[in-house]
Amino acid sequence: MSEPLHRALGLTDDEAAEIERILGRRPNSLELAMYAVMWSEHCSYKSSRLHLRRLPTAGEGVLVGPGENAGVVDVGDGIAVAMRIESHNHPSAIEPYQGAATGVGGILRDIFTMGARPIAVMDPLRFGPLDDPRSRWIAEGVVSGISGYGNSVGVPTVGGEAEFDETYRDNPLVNVFCLGVLPVENLVLGRATGVGNLAVLVGAGTGRDGIGGVSVLASAGFSEGEDESAKRPSVQVGDPFEEKRLIEACLALYDAGLVVGIQDLGGAGLTCATSETASRAGMGMDVDISAVRRREPDMEPFEVMTSESQERMLAIVTPQDLDEVLAVCRKWEVSAGVIGRVTSGGSLRVLDGFGGEVLADIPAASLHDDAPCYDRPRTPPARDAQGDDHVATTEGVDLGEDLLAMLLDTSWVWRQYDHQLFLNTVLGPGSDATLLRLKHPLTGRDTGRGLALTTDGNHRWCSVDPRQGTAMVVAEAVMNLATVGARPVALVNCLNFGNPEHGEVMWQLSEAIDGMAEACRAFAIPVVGGNVSLYNESGGADIAPTPVVGMLGLVDGLDVPPPTTSLVDGSRLILIGDHVAALGGSRWAFERGQRGGPLPPLDLRAHSRVATAVRDLVNGGLVNSVHDVSAGGLGLCLAEMAVRSGVGFNVAGIHGLAELFGESPSRCVVGADPELAGTVLRVCESAGAPTTELGFAGGAHLHVEDLLEVSLTEASSRYHDRLPSALGAGTTQG
């Protein structure tokens, strides 16, 4: 006997019984399919919702918090910023080019749904090791997909991350962050208000691509021996030119005031867009499924209602405005047609023609509000006693070689992205934080201020201690913003974890959320949106916990470009911030299989003092280079500054391996003109930030007294050659 339909759709027996209770009858197969996609982990957050409530979401300037398509923050001068981060991990593992491309497309729609023009994309990427051919294939395809879609759709990719680690073999993390700007008064919400208003489906035709993407792909892991190519039809296919016209058409509709509410079609397709817009407004909707323009003949109603075909939006408009709406869409060569009507009473009905047969009839709100919410068991791991702090010896260790092995230039990735469009990019990819000019989205008027952006994650810190590790990730983002002179304003998160049915994974998730909440409270940063990606596992092994944050900061006066991470010959080098000599959670220790703890301590108040000092120095024009100390420790920080500038350094006072490669948080290296060094030290002192004078920038070597000396030439070639030699000129896809 074959398994019951609800199980094949990914619903448990209890969930099926609950659906029957809500409806007071047995659901038909279309209704069951609609519940299955909406109650999937991806759409309902059923394993994480309980915990996400602990994050602070209120704050100055927050116009829209979590729960809408994107968070929105008022940044002054009549301008608001919409921001969101998403994952496209599973699709990218199966079909890297389209998986990544549609990830970009999806996040853009989340942003222009709010009335904002998307102006910046960032891609935090995590792949398996470079010596694994499949991981290289995934990395190459993902980067091509982002480049192919993002460049063509006309939104610059201004930053991100590229990491390679064993934990992401077979389960890469492809996260994508997007930011848009809008005149405050243009803010649009995804609400279907007004009985009799029309639901207009705008954009691409509906096909069979991406059916069940949220349930088949995003809410289950990959098992051993499973043929992943069998899941390929669940991956959507993107068309950036369709999306570009869709963006322009929607922005034109907003400017003309023709839209009552709007929602993009992403995960769970029409089912999600119709039910969410209706239930947010306390309304219902009649959907005429026969009016949905299709790409293929003979599609079943459940296919039409759950298809994740890309580049579609659902606009709610008044009947009087319909002709004008259709005219705007025609100008942009975007197809549009009425497929629904807003009704009172709260029912989402799927009809075969208005007045025709009723194919489904369910309470719209039940797809969201009644979705299951699980308090899944949480089990702290049994800690092995293996510490690693005692390894702080240089005997038998070639520190120079260890340093060289960590150097990696990611420009191979971001040179393939248009990162300059819109003439905003003051500091782009490869910087500690991206810095954009802030212009009014309609008038183009330059505010003389800047938007700073960073995305950060560190799976090593978080696997040693998910709570403190996540707090350290938030702290690192704050420091990255400080290096361009920005103060933090808001945060979005993408929580990439393993299988929530594993007790340890749920424990990691809960701890990470607590760590993020603590840090956000300490820095007064509201969480305005997020995404949870679970079931990141392969062959039964969960990925290391990888919460990623995207943080927005503001620079008040942007007259001259801030200093970069590049050293200036002859400068004095100063370390700001205190440290503990400990290797727990460090990259150096992990690469030697030492995954024990504890992490070096994090003092959030001390961190704020260092960040304030750095911000003051940058804004005061007192430093000529600046780089935060993070993965790879002080050693890698200095080495990156050297290879990016072609200027060596000569430093002293770093005592041993643990001080060289330990990753004590809350530290930054700055370079200063010798005549300004005294002022720099005084500014730090008055901010309450401790300093250590390290030495000088200059020469043709990376020299740390008593520890290592390597030639700048060798370091530079290792830095620059690593990715091109692993990934090559490569091939093109798509």
């Binding site: 030119f241 992205y417 248009d418 300059q420 003439l423 942007l558």
Partner: protein
């Protein structure tokens, strides 16, 4: 009176607002011309901006050349009016036969977005009139199909007529003879892959695009189209 620059917007173009911002910052007037408009509204200069006109379907520029506005652009150029195609605009100009040669995929088969160094080779064009031959300038490039190619006879003609206006220093895309920009025999139609508008603000890393845009904004020279007609 300020020079009026008409910037053609094809569906899929994306640098039109950037060009407009740069033009306005230098005192020019910028107007966006929709691709199926029947008139150029009497502008003094036409710019075909960067982007992906019509999604670059088939080949970059292959469909854009059939957009209704292109008939007007051809007539404007034949009357001596200055026309500049930047990046995708250069591709459109070659597809439309307004400039010789073609732009194929980069030698590395990758999209390339980076700063490029260029040598000014000719100042006898509407875009380079304000520069000096031999000057080295810095401007970003941002393309997948920027690898210029043409027949041997065409190359000979381009050289002998001094039609190569910009060459790369350190060829980033495999272009024949390091060609980054060319003009037609009348010197009023120019195509280039680098983006002068991206090098026109002190916060963006280079101001070297400014002299090029200023050349374009200089008062119309005799023989150019009457700004009141067309």
């Amino acid at each position: 009176m300020s020079t009026r620059v008409g910037i053609v917007l094809f569906p899929g173009s994306n640098c039109e607002l950037d060009v407009a911002e740069a033009v306005r910052s230098l005192g020019g007037d910028a107007e966006i011309l929709w691709h199926d408009e029947p008139s150029l509204r009497g502008v003094d200069v036409v710019v075909l901006p960067g982007g992906f006109a019509h999604g670059d379907y088939l080949r970059p520029g292959a469909i854009a050349r059939f957009s209704p506005v292109m008939e007007k652009v051809v007539a404007f150029a034949e009357a001596g009016g200055p026309v500049v195609g930047i990046c995708n605009g250069f591709q459109v100009l070659t597809e439309a036969g307004m400039l010789p040669g073609a732009l194929q995929k980069n030698a590395g088969l990758k999209f390339v977005c980076q700063m490029a160094q260029l040598r000014v080779e000719s100042v006898d064009s509407v875009l380079t009139a304000g520069l000096t031959v031999g000057d080295i300038v810095k401007m970003p490039i941002n393309h997948f199909e920027g690898n210029y190619t043409c027949s041997e006879q065409t190359l000979t003609r381009l050289r002998s007529n001094d039609q190569v206006i910009l060459r790369y220093v350190g060829n980033p895309n495999g272009s024949l003879d390091d060609i980054a920009g060319i003009c037609n025999e009348g010197r009023n139609v120019v195509g280039l892959m680098p983006h002068p508008e991206r090098a026109s603000h002190e916060l963006l890393g280079s101001l070297d695009g400014v002299p090029l845009l200023r050349s374009l904004l200089a008062p119309a020279t005799p023989g150019c189209a009457d700004p009141l007609s067309g």
